[in-house]
């Protein structure tokens, strides 16, 4: 390498001199230019010849096959020819550079034109400029548990499981209108546990058109996350976003045995008022509400004409940066369940919620509480209370965390007691460690100790969660 250094330095200096002279060629006489050119050419050719000769001798000395030697010699010769051509015309190098520069400029100009075209219409986009952005989430889990808490479950105590395969799509229809869809492929046990068919369920979790009027008014029409608490509208299906392996039990999905409604179809208005001292965010939704049981969806129609209304306020005080807090309330009339003789009456459901969240730098502190009030109209009133508190602290790529889950179901609540799921009183401690393996892949290892009704369960879990 070092033996090439000196010639290379000479070549570079020579080329620089030639280039410089070419640029300012009009300032020296033609005769002087030719004399200088010939001198440099002679010197340069001499150096190159010596170098090539040395290299050829070394090549021939080695015991490599003759064909390889031949090809090497040809390669050196061809390099020599190229350099020779450049020496014959010292302006060639400059021309090449100028050509490269011209190509670069043309490419930049093309990019610029493209950008201009994209924005020339201002508020709107043409078909050619409209883009569909598809992102997604997935996760794979492994778990061991020492006790099986479900009554109808016949699964073993250690297993691998596929999480959700979540496709998230957005597209701008104009600068103020956009489309959003989240479709989840879920791998479930299936209702018939004996056959173990494990069907893949395709759920349209969100499908909406968004109208962005201004800071104070944003309208979503379609199926969306309900504005209840903090976790439901923030993380929802993106398991990779959330610190822990699983959602808190109180905000678990309806079709996984969660007590709260999380998605619904209707209209939602939201906005932010940036006031002196604090930001005031609000969201209000009018939706079809719950079906006759905990898992029944009402995306296409509504069994009763009574709509569900949810309202949330979220305050961000400026004096406490990173803090968010506020209440939420949800009102619905749950229709009677014609398939269930114990559910002959409508139930009035009111859910009160509150959240306090602190997320800044390395700290994540989340806490929420809910009270679910079910009134059967015929006299029975049932209250369920639950919540969670979660703390996490980031240290470089590691994020240790702790969470406490608590749910106290009302005995004999007809809505929960006549469901396909076991709604068990829960007191659960979870500790875990999240590690950012890469920008879009997180590994989570956690241990949970929980009391579900009168059963104690220990669970060790591992998850790899990713976004793509």
């Amino acid at each position: 390498m070092t033996r090439f250094l000196n010639p290379i330095v000479i070549v570079i200096i020579t080329l620089l001199l030639i280039t410089t002279k070419c640029v300012y060629a009009q300032e020296i006489s033609e005769k002087e230019y030719l004399r200088l050119k010939n001198r440099l050419k002679t010197e340069f050719v001499q150096k190159l010849k010596e170098e090539i000769k040395k290299e050829l001798i070394e090549e021939l000395k080695t015991e490599s096959p003759s064909s390889q030697r031949k090809s090497k010699v040809e390669e050196i010769k061809s390099n020599y020819d190229i350099k020779q051509a450049r020496i014959n015309d010292p302006r060639k190098e400059t021309e090449d550079l100028m050509e490269e520069e011209a190509i670069k400029t043309a490419e930049q100009k093309e990019d610029t034109e493209l950008n201009k075209a994209r924005y020339k219409l201002g508020e709107g986009l043409t078909f050619g400029e409209q883009l569909l952005v598809i992102r997604g989430f997935g996760n794979v889990n492994a778990r061991y548990r020492d006790n099986n808490i479900g009554e109808g479950f016949d699964s073993g105590n250690n297993f691998f499981s596929l999480g959700e395969f979540d496709l998230f799509m957005t597209s701008k229809l104009s600068n103020r209108i956009s489309f959003l869809n989240e479709t989840v492929f879920e791998f479930d046990r299936g209702k018939d546990t004996e056959e173990r068919t494990e069907p893949i369920e395709i759920d349209i979790e969100r499908l909406l058109i968004h109208y962005d009027v201004n800071n104070l008014l944003k309208i979503d029409v379609g199926k969306f996350f309900l504005p209840i608490g903090y976790w439901v509208p923030t993380y929802n299906h993106g398991v990779w976003f959330q610190t822990t392996m699983d959602r808190p039990d109180i905000v678990n999905f309806q079709d996984k045995g969660g007590p709260l409604p999380t998605h619904d179809t209707g209209i939602k208005v939201a906005g932010s008022a940036l006031l002196e001292g604090f930001d005031l965010n609000y969201a209000c939704a009018i939706t079809n509400g719950r079906g006759g049981n905990t898992t029944q969806r009402q995306n296409f129609d509504d069994i009763n004409d009574k709509k569900a209304v949810s309202f949330q306020i979220d305050v961000q005080p400026h004096i406490l940066e990173g803090v968010r807090l506020g209440p939420s309330v949800y009102y619905d009339v749950i229709p009677e369940d014609e398939d269930n003789p114990k559910r002959e009456n409508e139930i009035r459901e009111i859910i009160y919620g509150g959240h306090i969240v602190y997320t800044i730098k390395n700290i994540e502190l989340l806490s929420e509480v809910f009270e679910i009030n079910h009134d059967e109209f015929s006299g029975g009133v049932f209250n369920t209370f639950g919540g969670y508190a979660q703390f996490a602290y980031t240290i470089d790529k590691f994020k240790p965390y702790y969470r406490y889950d608590y749910i106290d179901y009302s005995n004999d609540d007809p809505f929960y007691r006549n469901s396909e799921f076991d709604f068990l009183d829960t007191k659960k401690h979870t500790i875990g460690l999240r590690y950012e393996l890469s920008h879009f892949n997180a590994l989570k290892l956690e241990y949970s100790h929980g009391g579900f009704d009168d059963k104690d369960v220990n669970i060790i879990g591992f998850q790899t969660a990713f976004s793509f």
Partner: protein, 156 residues
């Protein structure tokens, strides 16, 4: 002698402050705003304020995350790790708080053109790059009444 060197080295590390890039905030010339408070700029950067007072939608334009300018903003405003900058915006798109990611552009030339073409655009470039902007269509914003390089300017 060795002890002195080690002590000097340790003290050097202890008292070395983060060096921030000097940032200029540029907007389209048609924008009525010429002077902005730091608090308001922070709200814009965090996408809490998504519209200018005249109703024009704000388009955020950053240089790549590897640039000194964007890293300075992450340190001073977002207060998150550099690697979490993408996730920060992804979560906002996922929550439907914003309609699209901010624009990340490499070249000051392209930033120049976009800001000159988008009435609501706001971009963050190096102070040294001010001389290269299109003065006919772009202007540099004052922050709390100060221009880049002046006393009291927050990004210096």
């Amino acid at each position: 002698m060795r002890l002195i060197l080690i002590t000097a080295f340790v003290l050097g590390i202890c008292f070395t402050k983060n060096t921030y890039a000097s940032i200029a905030v540029i907007v389209n010339k048609s924008n009525a705003v010429s002077d902005i408070s730091y608090d308001k700029l922070k709200k814009i950067l965090e996408a809490r304020q998504q519209y200018w007072d005249n109703g024009e939608k704000i388009t955020l334009i950053f240089k790549p995350i590897t640039s000194n300018e964007t890293r300075t903003l992450i340190d001073m405003v977002y207060k998150i790790k550099y690697e979490e900058f993408d996730k920060y915006w992804f979560l906002r798109v996922y929550n439907n708080k914003i309609m699209e990611f901010p624009k990340i552009l490499n070249s000051a030339g392209t930033i120049n053109i976009l800001v000159s073409k988008i009435p609501g655009a706001i971009a963050f470039i190096g102070k040294d790059e001010i001389s290269r902007i299109d003065n006919i269509n772009i202007k540099v914003l004052r922050i709390n009444g100060t221009m880049p390089g002046e006393d009291g300017y927050p990004f210096k």
